[in-house]
């Protein structure tokens, strides 16, 4: 007993050991519960990865490296997923090219240009875009947006007819459903995320840096380039990568407007296919290697999204560490 009392006196007042010896039951119970929840998330993630890979194993073993072949034709037993990987990449790139400049522009507008009183309603409206369900985007896309875009596609296609590179990119429209339409709808969907994350990062730039730049005679653009951007570039890149992750995984909206044609073509106005869309469309009647192939495409998508998110976290961490050091 006496050794315990001496040990108590020896430990400093705020040490964790002293705290855990005297912590009430509710605190300890909460610690256990929170730990359990955290572990549960990790365990579920691992279980998803393991069980889907297991179910897709017959596709991996039957096809080997041919899982990256160009042709996906269940009727003849060919299950090459390259056209879907291509479609996911193309629509994600189109979505990023359209959404990122707009989102960063809105973020800069809200933090640098617009008076604070007006920024709150604008933020509210942008967040409303994020609330629109994916299937509503898809339905609006296929019923309203795609038919309207179809006329624009045919006009552009006849306009660039003959111009060397452009007619390979913008020729041969079939209907409004195409890589490009899917890319634009995805751009609408990721704009709110990238905008709100960028805005929060840009808002953390200390006012002293900005005032200093103005004091040295910088214009507003020079101030943004010199004081805001170096401070927030890591966070903005991280926001963009998170938006990319969402664009890659968006299922229903893409499935409805992408055109459902597993082809690899440079024509952006032609119908295509992407990974989440083919799983949603073809899973119901699939069996055997076909079904394993669709689950395998899901595994590939999972892996790509995890890699993108890990890179995003790494970029954000690295720039935060650099800033803290500076």
């Amino acid at each position: 007993m006496s050794t315990v009392a001496r040990a108590d006196q020896a430990t400093p007042a705020g040490s964790a050991r002293a705290l855990s010896e005297r912590r009430p039951l509710g605190d300890r119970g909460f610690q256990v519960l929170a730990l359990a929840c955290g572990l549960l998330v990790l365990v579920i993630l691992v279980l998803i990865a393991v069980s889907t890979t297991q179910q897709a194993s017959s596709w991996f073993t039957t096809e080997g490296l041919k899982i990256f072949a160009r042709t996906w034709d269940p009727a003849t037993g060919q299950f090459g997923a390259l056209s879907f990987i291509y479609g996911t990449a193309v629509t994600a790139i189109i979505a990023l090219v359209m959404a990122v400049p707009v989102s960063i522009g809105i973020a800069l507008l809200l933090t640098e240009v617009v008076p604070y009183r007006w920024s709150r309603p604008i933020v509210y409206v942008i967040d409303l875009l994020a609330v629109v369900p994916s299937v509503v985007w898809g339905l609006w896309g296929i019923l309203v947006f795609a038919p309207w875009l179809q006329h624009i596609y045919t006009d552009i296609a006849s306009g660039v007819n003959g111009i060397p590179i452009l007619d390979n990119l913008f020729g041969q429209p079939v209907s409004g459903a195409s890589f490009f339409t899917a890319g634009v709808i995805l751009a609408f969907m990721i704009t709110p995320i990238v905008t709100s994350l960028s805005r929060e990062v840009i808002a953390t730039v200390p006012a002293i840096d900005k005032e200093g730049a103005y004091a040295l005679g910088a214009t507003r653009w020079e101030m943004i380039r010199g004081a805001v951007w170096p401070h927030s570039q890591g966070g903005v890149v991280g926001a963009v990568l998170l938006g990319l992750g969402r664009a890659m995984g968006e299922t229903i909206a893409a499935a409805l407007v992408i055109g459902s044609s597993p082809t690899i073509t440079s024509h952006l106005f032609a119908p295509g296919y992407d990974m989440p869309a083919v799983i949603a469309n073809q899973f119901g009647e699939s069996y055997g290697v076909f079904k394993a192939g669709l689950i395998g495409i899901g595994v590939l998508l999972f892996a790509f999204t995890i890699i993108i998110n890990v890179i995003a976290r790494g970029v954000v961490e690295r720039s935060a560490r650099r800033k803290r050091g500076a």
Binding site: A7, A16, R17, S20, E21, R28, Q31, V32, L33, L35, A36, L39, L40, V43, L47, T71, W72, D73, P74, A75, T76, V174, S175, A177, A255, L256, G259, S260, S261, P262, T263, T265, A270, P271, A280, N281, Q282, F283, G284, E285, S286, Y287, G288, V289, F290, K291
Partner: protein
């Protein structure tokens, strides 16, 4: 000091146990369909009680829903549930023991799936037939006649405009415009695509090279719609479009259908009666599997397909067996009267008799 370390370790240990327990609770297998306490019946009018669960073919969904609500007046204490999900899901749910019966547009069970059934005998009950229309949108043209070779060339993308000589040859006296042909197909995999492509494969011969499956690699100029309703809306809104649509959805959308040449050389219009005729004269295996497409019957509509309900021959208890006999018996018996209004075709009388005779094979 050590007490704190033990406490920290104990906290992590309790957390892990909590996680493991919650996962074990989640992973316990779901209960099988029927739970009841009433005694098994031997007569068809005895009152049964319990629950039957089925899933599978979306082609059957409309009929199943109508039959389930009408069956409540025959057996008020029985509850039947049908969740669609596609033929693949229907077969896998039956194999896993999650459902009592599975709807499938394909029979027999594909060889890749046979091991899932662990050697238990499966009985196939044909439930109904349904015509697939070839619907088109050409203003001023009605009564278009098409045959399998021309259809195969249209849907492979070889025929690109309506005033093609092959179409003109089948339709003398009809003035066909030079509108380009737009083919409308399914974006999702389905039994409709499977049987339409099977017809083109059987009857179209060398003109059809794309095989037959629930998903086909259509030419890149094809426009894809989701579900029969999606294809119907593409046909309805695009001049020059031609697509394959279930009869029920084509009628609901008010589309114009083509008459198709059957194997006897007659041009037949799709309808419930011409589809039922497709059940006559075809080869039916002893386990009641068959193909209704391209039937040799002279009055048959050639693009007709079918769906089966699959059940295990040996049921886990007598009440399950009795309930299945009652419900499946209703589907192939009195329930057939519901089909005309829904846009499907009843079984031909030969098929119906064979199916009713097979009911007695369900034992427990």
């Amino acid at each position: 000091m050590q007490r704190a370390r033990i406490r920290g370790g104990a906290a992590a240990g309790v957390a892990l146990v909590a996680v493991a327990l919650s996962l074990a609770a989640c992973s316990s297998s779901g209960s099988s369909g029927a739970k009841s306490s009433s005694s098994p019946s031997s007569g068809s009018t005895a009152k049964l009680s319990g629950t039957l669960n089925g899933s599978g073919s979306t082609f059957q969904t409309t009929y199943q829903e109508a039959a389930i609500s009408a069956f409540r007046s025959v057996q008020p204490n029985m509850t039947v549930n049908y969740g669609s999900g596609g033929s693949g899901k229907g077969r896998s749910d039956l194999a896993a023991g999650v459902t009592n019966f599975g709807g499938s547009d394909t029979a027999p069970i594909p060889s890749a799936e046979v091991p899932n059934f662990k050697g238990k005998t499966v009985l196939y009950f044909p439930v109904f037939l349904g015509p697939i229309t070839v619907s088109y949108n050409l203003s001023g043209v009605t009564g278009l006649k098409l045959d399998a070779t021309v259809l195969a060339e249209i849907f492979s993308g070889k025929i690109t405009s309506w005033n093609n000589s092959a179409i003109k040859a089948l339709n003398p006296g009809v003035s066909l415009p030079s509108t380009p042909v737009t083919i409308a197909v399914r974006s999702d995999s389905s039994g409709t695509t499977q049987n339409f492509s099977l017809y083109l494969e059987k009857a179209g011969g060398s003109a059809w090279t794309l095989g037959s499956n629930s998903t086909i690699k259509w030419p890149s100029t094809a426009r894809a719609g989701s579900g029969n309703a999606g294809v119907a809306s593409i046909v309805k809104s695009t001049p020059g479009a031609i697509g394959y649509v279930d009869y029920a959805d084509a009628k609901a959308s008010g589309l114009t259908f083509a008459s198709i040449k059957n194997s006897s050389g007659t041009y037949v219009v799709p309808s419930p009666s011409s589809a039922s005729e497709a059940g006559n004269g075809i080869t039916i295996a002893s386990n009641l599997t068959f193909h209704a497409v391209d039937s040799p019957n002279a009055q048959a509509y050639p693009i007709t397909y079918q769906s089966w309900d699959l059940v295990f021959e040996v049921q886990p208890n007598a009440n399950d067996a009795a309930m299945l006999k009652a419900y499946i018996g209703y589907l192939i018996g009195d329930g057939q009267q519901l089909l005309g209004n829904l846009g499907y075709a009843p079984l031909s009388s030969g098929l119906q008799h064979m199916a009713q005779a097979q009911l007695s094979k369900i034992t427990s």
